[in-house]
């Protein structure tokens, strides 16, 4: 059943023109009359009590309309019901450098920035925790009083009998892997515009409208309601174009609440757009993860057990943390058939910006450790790394030991395809020294089967309205963030209704207009919002079919909707006009001469076909307004087990990936060049191959960034690289060719068989590169990213000729002899005198000495 007219076709994104012309509006592009600019004052301390805030000097500055602090909105919130530990602005305590302290709303950016300088805050510094393993030992000065040992959450899962499994193994590898912290770095810095309606007579505040760069407008509406103590019905959240999310906009980010709080105080619209540095502080990226991994295997390659202890450095707030840590366990072994699994997960609080969900949520780092170690085992038992993966495949349909229901499983074909395309068999082992091939696999959810806020509510609902001239409007809460969700929605609606794509207009992500959808995260949109769209379209189609069938003297089941026509199944092709002509004719006549057109058609009996528009008119004449609703809730059997933490991991369906990376390593410099990555991804069905390939390439590329270049560098709670210059997102020059290979397993429950394609590929890239480096030069890298110095250090260690690099050799004798890794704990020793040039006293002194 691959005979589709719109599904599976290479289609340009429906919103592409707005993006290439610059006409499309993102949040920061919006303005309102009387709009103020908000700027946030951030904490200079990683951990401190706020003793006093005095904003009087700031308020006195001309152009400043309002200054708000934590006291203006003290209600706690958080994305997870178990993690309500944030306030819009710090109430009495700051927990990381960059934590939000106050916000100024002023007539322009310059004034707001100047006003920030005038706010006086007195802090009492507290001891801070930066290393998760140190933080876990904390007895006092806890980051949150209700989290002993700064432990956000720990889980301990045992499936099968791991001890027995390891006892049966012929080969066991055990080692520690570290993946350093990375962030989304979406090109659009977060932005929010909040405006209250004012009663023209009393000036009292009315409804609130918020435009925001968000992946989750409905969660934002919910949290705003919580913090502002307003009913949700009084809050409208609109998502304009969003310049990339990758998870960084998948929860409520402080500025979104702060803008509303400031707008309430200022009684004027307030827009806040983060600086790039603030984006890094808002963060919610992938945590630094320490993984102690142990895998056992039989000599024949069968895996007998896996055990992992995973510690995530979560930062100062819970964010998605509980989910992140659980994903690192749930998807650890479930890609393969492993009967014995032990997993201990620790989500730890530290005095750094909160980590959260980032593309491949929770699975990426453990996949790196697992797939790398699997390669080590293959090497030890002299098995082809592709083969050891094949030996351990699941036999679907099946349920894994941790209760994940696998309905479609394209992994075998993915492995086969990348092995074939990369010339794995022919080339591996025969490449010149310094060049190698490596393989890695991954999998990911197509949305979570259990929503964050437990309820029986469907996760997606879609409404469709069809106008008299055949215009189809789809109302969906799904958030287009560049991944193509609007296009996917339009395609599904058009395919079901058999109309052209041009007829379909998408109204998305506006809480006043669109039915609830829990958002664009965990790769849920195609599967869930897609299914809801499918059902809504089918419901409307049924109404059209019954009206059309009446006109065509047949039963509705006999009708085919396709190419903008409705015709009787089996009617001879020649009697059906070609689609294009009928569209044109229908449009012209339909608008102006509808009456006479219908008249004319009435005389032509019996009819074998109608245009889509005629059928719609017939249906509207019969039913009145033509609308339909569809919703999607994951089936109960997909929702997983009942053990503690079982809620995270289950999905209605899983995607699978296999990749081969081709790399070179310069043994003298440690520089790694990735020549090419072959990436096969089982997306169920590719609804739009251009979009699917774009998502695969983008995921692989982002994995490549994490593998080679990207790393948030911390010194005592200070982020050393809070900008796109020093946080290195790969440029076009070193980005390799990526060959996307689509594998279609046609999922039984996905819309047209489709499932996830935007995240799963990322996790396979890092181990594929690690394994290729091993193949090239025989070094096993256990810390990501593989920067040249880490690679070189490993090469030197390998050679045992490791000439120790002596930093002091030949150094200028006047230079200090001791270099410390970082600036030291300045927080406890007092700071250098604050006398920068914006200090009014200093400025006055300087001007006095000036020339005019």
């Amino acid at each position: 059943m691959s005979d589709f007219s719109i599904i599976g076709k290479r289609i340009a994104m429906v919103d592409a023109a707005g993006k290439t012309t610059g006409a499309g509006k993102y949040t920061d592009d919006l303005t309102l009359p009387g709009m103020l600019i908000g700027k946030i004052l951030h904490s200079p301390y990683p951990h401190a009590r706020i003793k006093r805030i005095d904003a009087s000097r700031a308020l006195a500055l001309e152009g400043v309309v309002a200054v708000v602090t934590g006291q203006d909105a003290p209600n706690k919130y958080g994305i997870l019901p178990v993690g309500h530990d944030e306030t819009a602005l710090a109430v009495d305590r700051v927990r990381y450098v960059g934590d939000n302290v106050a916000c100024v709303a002023a007539v322009d950016e310059t004034t707001a920035e100047k006003a920030l300088e005038l706010i006086e805050v007195e802090y009492e510094p507290l001891p801070a925790y930066f290393d998760p393993e140190e933080s876990m030992k904390a007895e006092r000065d806890l980051i949150h009083e209700n989290r002993p040992h700064n432990l956000e959450k720990d889980y301990h899962h045992v499936f099968g009998d791991p001890e027995k499994g390891f006892a049966e193994a012929d080969c066991i590898r055990e080692s520690r892997y570290i993946a350093n912290e990375v962030t989304h770095a979406a090109m659009e810095p977060h932005s929010t515009l909040a405006a209250f309606e004012l009663d023209p007579y009393s000036g009292a505040l009315g409804r609130l409208t918020v435009w925001s760069s968000t992946q989750v407008p409905y969660y934002l509406q919910h949290k705003l309601s919580l913090v502002l103590e307003m009913p949700m019905s009084q809050i409208r959240v609109i998502k304009p174009l969003v310049g990339g999310g990758f998870g960084g906009k998948s929860e409520v980010i402080p500025l979104e609440i702060i803008a509303a709080v400031a707008a309430r105080a200022a009684k004027a619209p307030v827009k806040i757009t983060y600086t790039r540095e603030e984006v890094f502080w808002a963060h919610r990226g992938r945590p630094r993860t320490i993984m102690d991994m142990k895998i056992g295997a039989k000599r024949d390659g069968r895996l007998t057990a896996v055990a992992a202890r995973v510690v995530q450095d979560g930062g100062a707030y819970c964010s998605y943390g509980v989910v992140t840590i659980l994903y690192s366990g749930a998807l650890l072994g479930a890609i393969y058939d492993i009967l014995n699994v032990r997993w201990d997960g620790y989500r730890v609080l530290t005095n750094k910006p909160a980590c959260g969900a980032m593309r491949g949520h929770g699975t990426v780092n453990v996949r790196f450790a697992f797939e790398s170690q699997l390669d080590e085992i293959a090497a030890e038992i002299a098995l082809d790394p592709a083969e050891i993966r094949r030996i351990n495949l699941l036999q679907p349909p099946c349920i894994t030991v941790n209760n994940l229901r696998v309905t479609s499983y394209g992994l075998p074909e993915c492995i086969e395809k990348v092995v074939e395309r990369s010339g794995w068999r022919e080339r591996r082992g025969k490449l010149p020294r310094g060049r190698g091939l490596g393989i890695g696999c991954s999998h990911y959810v197509s949305g979570a089967a259990n929503s964050i806020i437990r309820s029986d509510m469907p996760h997606s609902t879609v409404n469709i309205k069809i106008d008299r001239d055949g215009g189809v409007v789809v109302y969906t809460g799904a958030s287009e963030i560049g991944q193509g969700s609007d296009t996917m929605t339009a395609q599904i609606a058009a395919e079901v209704l058999g109309c052209t794509l041009q007829r379909v207009k998408i109204v998305a992500a506006d809480t006043d207009l669109t039915p609830i959808d829990i958002g664009s995260y965990s790769s849920r949109v195609t599967f869930m919002a897609g299914n809801a769209t499918l059902r809504a379209a089918e419901e409307v189609k049924k109404q059209i079919a019954s009206a059309a069938a009446r006109k065509m003297n047949c039963v509705p089941e006999d009708l085919v909707f396709r190419d903008d026509l409705v015709f009787k199944r089996g009617s001879s092709v020649s009697s059906v006009p070609s689609g294009v002509d009928s569209v044109v004719a229908g449009r012209v006549e339909g608008q102006i001469l509808r009456g006479s057109l219908q008249q004319k058609r009435k005389e032509e009996v019996p009819k074998d076909w109608m245009t889509f528009e005629e059928a719609v008119v017939a249906a509207i004449d019969f039913h009145g307004a033509l609308t339909g609703t569809g919703s999607y809730a994951p089936p109960p059997e997909s929702r997983g087990g009942s053990f503690k933490g079982a809620g995270v991991g289950p999905s209605p369906s899983y995607s699978y990936s296999a990749q081969v990376a081709d790399v070179s390593v310069d043994e003298e410099t440690g520089e790694v060049t990735v020549h090419k990555v072959w990436a096969a991804h089982d997306c169920g069905r590719a609804l739009n191959p251009v979009a699917v390939e774009g998502q695969i390439i983008g995921s692989v590329w982002m994995g490549l960034g994490q593998a080679l270049e990207e790393e948030m560098v911390w010194k005592d709670g200070l982020l050393m690289n809070p900008g796109l210059l020093e946080y290195r997102s790969p440029s076009a020059v070193e980005s390799p060719e990526i060959e996307p290979i689509i594998v279609e397993s046609i999922d039984p429950e996905g819309p047209f068989g489709a499932k996830e394609c935007s995240e799963g590929s990322l996790a396979a890239t890092i181990p594929a590169i690690a394994n290729a480096i091993y193949d090239a030069v025989g070094i096993r890298l256990r810390e990501v990213p593989f920067t040249p110095e880490r690679v070189l250090a490993a090469i030197r260690a390998r050679d045992a000729a490791a000439k120790k690099l002596d930093l002091t050799e030949g150094v200028d004798p006047t230079a200090p002899t001791r270099f410390r890794e970082h600036g030291g704990a300045l927080w406890f020793r007092g700071k250098g005198p604050k006398r920068h040039e914006l200090d009014p006293a200093r400025r006055a002194e300087q001007l006095a000495g000036g020339d005019d």
């Binding site: 290479r10 340009a12 994104m13 919103d15 592409a16 023109a17 707005g18 993006k19 290439t20 012309t21 610059g22 006409a23 499309g24 509006k25 993102y26 920061d28 592009d29 303005t31 310059t110 989304h184 770095a185 979406a186 090109m187 659009e188 810095p189 174009l241 969003v242 310049g243 990339g244 999310g245 990758f246 757009t273 600086t275 790039r276 540095e277 963030i481 560049g482 991944q483 193509g484 251009v690 979009a691 390939e693 774009g694 390439i697 983008g698 692989v700 590329w701 982002m702 490549l704 900008g723 796109l724 210059l725 997102s729 440029s731 076009a732 020059v733 980005s735 060719e737 990526i738």
Partner: protein, 169 residues
């Protein structure tokens, strides 16, 4: 600081503006002229989302003082479309997946426009090199190369036939 009168020529149109001398071209475009196509993505002149052409040369409008562009021709993404229709490169970026979230896209449009003006038939390496000053976080750049090639072909075909090609395949 006192505003000063500055005359800027943007997309072929003259604008007389009263602006602070410290105001950046990007802010003038976005705030004073509502030309919001040019984007701000960073604060350290690294990302290229604000790229405009100054006398035909790609430059970062976030790194230029608006007042120092007096007397020069500034072209923004709003000036790329031809007589209201998408330019070949704009259409190709849409058709070939060169734009996903679209935030970096205006910057790429300007860079590619300048590239093709200087070198109508670049090799893939030349395209990579030319695009290496613009960061994109969605696409991994790959589909952009196809888009640029498709645009070149469409332009050539357009010159032969007088119309641009519509579909990718």
């Amino acid at each position: 600081m006192k505003k000063e009168l500055v005359e800027l020529k943007i997309n072929g149109r003259r604008h007389e503006l009263a602006i602070e001398p410290s105001k950046l071209l990007l802010d003038v475009l976005r705030q004073d002229l509502d030309l919001t196509g040019s984007k701000r993505g960073c604060d350290d002149s690294s990302c290229g989302a604000c790229t405009v052409l100054v006398d035909g040369v790609p430059m970062m409008s976030c790194t230029l003082l608006a007042a120092s562009c007096e007397g020069q021709e500034v072209t923004t993404v709003e000036g790329v479309a031809e007589h209201g229709a998408l330019a070949a490169i704009q259409r190709a970026y849409g058709d070939w997946g060169g734009a996903q979230c679209g935030y970096c896209t205006p910057g790429f449009m300007m860079t590619v426009k300048a590239l093709l003006a200087a070198n109508p038939d670049p090799t893939e390496d030349e395209i990579r090199y030319a695009l290496s000053g613009n960061l994109c976080r969605c696409t991994g750049y790959s589909q952009m190369y196809e888009a640029v090639r498709a645009a070149i072909q469409a332009e050539q075909k357009g010159r032969e036939q007088g119309v641009g090609s519509r579909n990718p395949s």
